[in-house]
Symmetry: C2
């Protein structure tokens, strides 16, 4: 059975949880609190040299890192990652967009606001980070104004990857009010079979 090393309040980890729940794939969840520094210790680095969560133990002692690569692995052969060449690549296009143009801003704004002390110097980054977050949301809004889901008008791991932090954007002070198509898409994702919400912040 899969074992997932993750922190439940991390959107990147929640992606894997949501996909496995919706696919009906059994798994064990091993909670890892990154704020303790445990992912920078030798025992963890032996499993993932990049020291990040989530991490999938797909066979005992064998690990796969990177949330979106894990989504591809667990969804391979299912309708969540279509096998047709162009659709398959379009799913990846949106997942690379998520990791390069969206997560470093939408997720980082939330991280600074919710995981760091109120007087942390990284708060100075917030104006620039939020500006970039809105640029990413504008790209999504433009696409979702004409499409029900990100690829092929079917729910896929591209939607899971982008839902994870988008739905929690306001926890980073990034208002969703100006994005009606994105807000409607969030509701469509939450109406999917076997949907489970992200664990709320304490």
């Amino acid at each position: 059975m899969y074992r997932v090393y993750g922190m439940a309040t991390s959107g990147n980890c929640y992606k894997v949880q949501l996909a496995l729940e919706q696919l009906g794939t059994p798994y064990l969840w091993e909670e890892v609190d990154i704020m303790t520094g445990i992912t920078r210790q030798p025992a963890y680095l032996a499993r993932n040299p990049n020291g990040r969560v989530p991490l999938l133990e797909h066979h005992p002692g064998h690990f796969l890192a990177e949330s979106n690569a894990i989504l591809c692995y667990v969804a391979d052969g299912t309708p969540f990652w279509p096998d047709e060449r162009l659709l398959k690549a379009e799913v990846l296009q949106w997942m690379f967009f998520e990791q390069y143009s969206h997560e470093p801003y939408v997720a980082v704004a939330r991280f600074i606001c919710k995981f760091l002390p109120a007087d942390h110097p990284r708060r100075a980054e917030l104006p620039k980070v939020r500006e970039r977050a809105h640029e990413a949301l504008a790209v999504m809004e433009r696409h979702l104004g004409q499409n029900r889901y990100f690829v092929g008008n079917e729910y896929s791991i591209a939607d899971i990857a982008l839902y994870a932090y988008t739905h929690a954007a306001e926890e980073g002070g990034v208002a969703l009010a100006g994005y009606p198509a994105t807000t409607a898409w969030i509701e469509r994702v939450e109406a999917q079979p076997r949907f489970v919400p992200m664990v709320p912040m304490p």
Copy 2:
């Protein structure tokens, strides 16, 4: 025939050029100088709402963005992206590593040093960016100390994605001297059939 919109001195664009050359796939190259602001103009945004290069016109009027998604598309069905489920996901793992933990530091250090004026305020970012670049190189070095290539001991698009900016790291002041396994891997990549070097900076 494919048409690639790209800037030849961009590592992300060079990835696509290198893959197409090595696959022997015919293509047209449409040079786009991002420093002119053309990728932020409405005509370009109609093709790629995220306003970035490279961009692949895979069929007339139909576009695929994100360098690594383009690599997957053009390499689909070839040995450069193995079809076996775990190997396929491991290639993606390294490609997501590249876009999240490597490119924003190794490529950005080079961008600041080579594309921006010597007195640009972003030079203040260099110490932190270079520190993170070295963290990414250390992860690669650890892997390449035990593996000839990134996945399955075969050359793949994971190698192409990581070669693009790694071989040019010193243009951003990120020395490669401390990474002998990575340096040897760079030489193995450059010895591959149909290898073409990146266009040098003017």
